[in-house]
Amino acid sequence: MARVVYNNVTKLFPGDVVAVKDFSLEVEDKEFVVLVGPSGCGKSTSLRMVAGLEEVTSGEIYIGDRLVNDVPPKDRDIAMVFQNYALYPHMTVYKNMAFGLKLRKYPKDEIERRVREAAEILGITELMNRKPKALSGGQRQRVAVGRAIVRKPKVFLFDEPLSNLDAKLRVQMRAEISKLHNRLQATMIYVTHDQMEAMTMGDRIVVMKDGEIQQVATPLELYDHPKNRFVAGFIGTPPMNFIEGKIERANGRFYFNEGTFRIALAEHMSPVLAGKNGAPITFGIRPEDIKDLEEVPNPNPEHCVTSRVEVVEPVGAESFWYLTTGLCSYIAKVGAHLRAEVNADRRVVFFVENAHLFDPTTQEALI
């Protein structure tokens, strides 16, 4: 196994379209790193550059200690799982899995042993003589993964491998790939646009936007301490609420004034807010940090806000309330047992201890 290093990598497409800009990252040996971001953010291109399917415009990529910029894909000792599986339709499952080994002129019994071993790990031994057409989506995905693991490569690359599966199967395969990582102890780079996949699978997550890295961190660090508004909004479902307003200072405390309501900010925010009295600010709070008044014993009145309920979405274990103050709209995640009338006013409590503040100009996180 090996580490993968991106050193100031930039990729330009014809017409000087910047796909990836000054990308630097060290993926440690045996680490599972997830590249996540919206469509067109450069995550797939970054992965494909490691595979050798895209040329690097500038910068360096190392696999292990070897600079691989000019090494052909077949000599990079990597394996890749594609979004649409890319199984060869005219070959049986066995031949699909054995193809790479056969081209590398492995002895027949070694090929047989490796393919059987991989098939057992993935539970597809009974499918060996079928063609891809006769497999379900989940089975195809398993074969695609099997084709990668028989090669025992230094690095596994996954390009949105679960996107074509239905929601239930996606959750199942997510867990299986994580198990596989634990079992193989291999370096894996995984691309997805699904933040839930990223959060549940990655040792570390790289959030990308417009070809640039926004933040590299562990899932919880990313969730609790997003570096900027984009990361804060991208990670979490439903996404973080952003409310525009101003900082106010009164009686030695800092407040956030939205225009229709004012709430006291947490004590630990004060040092950052010094000198910002009257300054515009973006207040960020996750839906789970807004509760109905009934759910909170002894609420601080300075953290309570009255809002009108616009939509109620019960999802089973909890309910999402879409609320509006007239100036801004936000979502609260409340207990499923609570009932709310649409267009009725409700008092909700903001857990400001967990809130975030962002500079409205730079979008960078202040807290």
Partner: protein, 288 residues
């Protein structure tokens, strides 16, 4: 999908009946000339055909019919013509399948300067009629000393078949996901490997379609053969059958025997490859 349509029972309704009647009528119109040609070739004399062109033969004596076919084969020198037609058609087929599949691969999967312009030039070949390049081609072959050889037919037939073949194969290849190529490259294939091990096996239906079009064209071609070939020993079947057209009389019964012999190989090829041909023609029409 095919299972569903095959197992669907016929539901009796007036529109369905009308549709089937229409399809039967069209099929009959298509098949009748072939059937007419075959049973008329069984007639004993040219007179019998002229006197009663639509009627069935009076005499169904199999040994007489066999003798009539054998006579056509030997007197008409059909053996030589068949051999020439087979040689020319086979060589044309090989050249067209190899060149058009490689060209289509390049036009659909590789990037090189002027790619689209060159492809457009090939497409222009689709709209140029044979008559327009007959004389230049004749002069060119004369310069190259290729006139009255099998090569002039092979080259001319290959050249005329390439535009349509490239067009069909390229359209087919464009629909194959690029991930397949990339996956094969990571597995260790070169560009040749991707072409030979992945792309070619996947375009078999399209190759069958191109193959039958090309073979039919080369097998039936008359005009170029008439202009380029003089030697009796090099004549192809359509040209050779001219022997039955006398100045004063036409020996229709022998001519029809010859035409039936000419038609059989093409029908056999079509029947063998019909499944692939239909797949090739309808590929991409439905989502996989």
């Amino acid at each position: 999908m095919s299972e569903t349509s095959a197992s669907r029972p016929f539901q009796f309704s007036l529109p369905a009946l009308g549709l089937y009647a229409f399809l039967i009528a069209v099929s009959a119109a298509m098949f009748f000339p072939l059937i007419w040609m075959t049973y008329s070739s069984f007639k004993a004399t040219s007179y019998e055909i002229m006197l009663n062109p639509w009627g069935l033969p009076k005499d169904w004596d199999l040994s007489r019919i066999a003798a009539q076919y054998a006579y056509t084969w030997t007197k008409g020198n059909i053996g030589t013509y068949v051999w020439n037609s087979v040689a020319v058609t086979f060589a044309t087929l090989i050249i067209v399948l190899v060149c058009s599949s490689m060209a289509a691969y390049a036009f659909s999967r590789l990037w090189f300067p002027g790619r689209d312009t060159i492809f457009t030039i090939f497409l222009i070949g689709l709209i140029i009629p044979t008559e327009a390049f007959l004389i230049p081609l004749f002069l060119e072959f004369r310069e190259l000393n290729l006139l009255d050889t099998r090569w002039c037919l092979i080259l001319a037939y290959s050249g005329t078949a390439l535009p349509l073949s490239i067009y069909i194969l390229r359209a087919f290849m464009v629909n194959l996901p690029r991930d397949l190529d990339e996956s094969a490259i990571i597995d260790g294939c070169t560009s040749w490997g991707v072409f030979g091990r992945i792309i070619v096996p996947l375009i078999t239906p399209a190759l069958a379609t191109v193959g039958i079009f090309t073979a039919l064209g080369a097998w039936n071609e008359f005009l170029l053969a008439l202009i380029f070939i003089e030697s009796e020993s090099l004549k192809t079947l359509p040209l050779g059958l001219l022997a039955f057209y006398g100045y004063h009389k036409v020996e229709y019964h022998y001519l029809l025997c010859g035409l039936t012999i000419t038609t059989i190989p093409m029908i056999a090829i079509y029947l063998i490859f019909q499944r692939q041909i239909v797949e090739g023609l309808t590929a991409g029409a439905l989502k996989e």
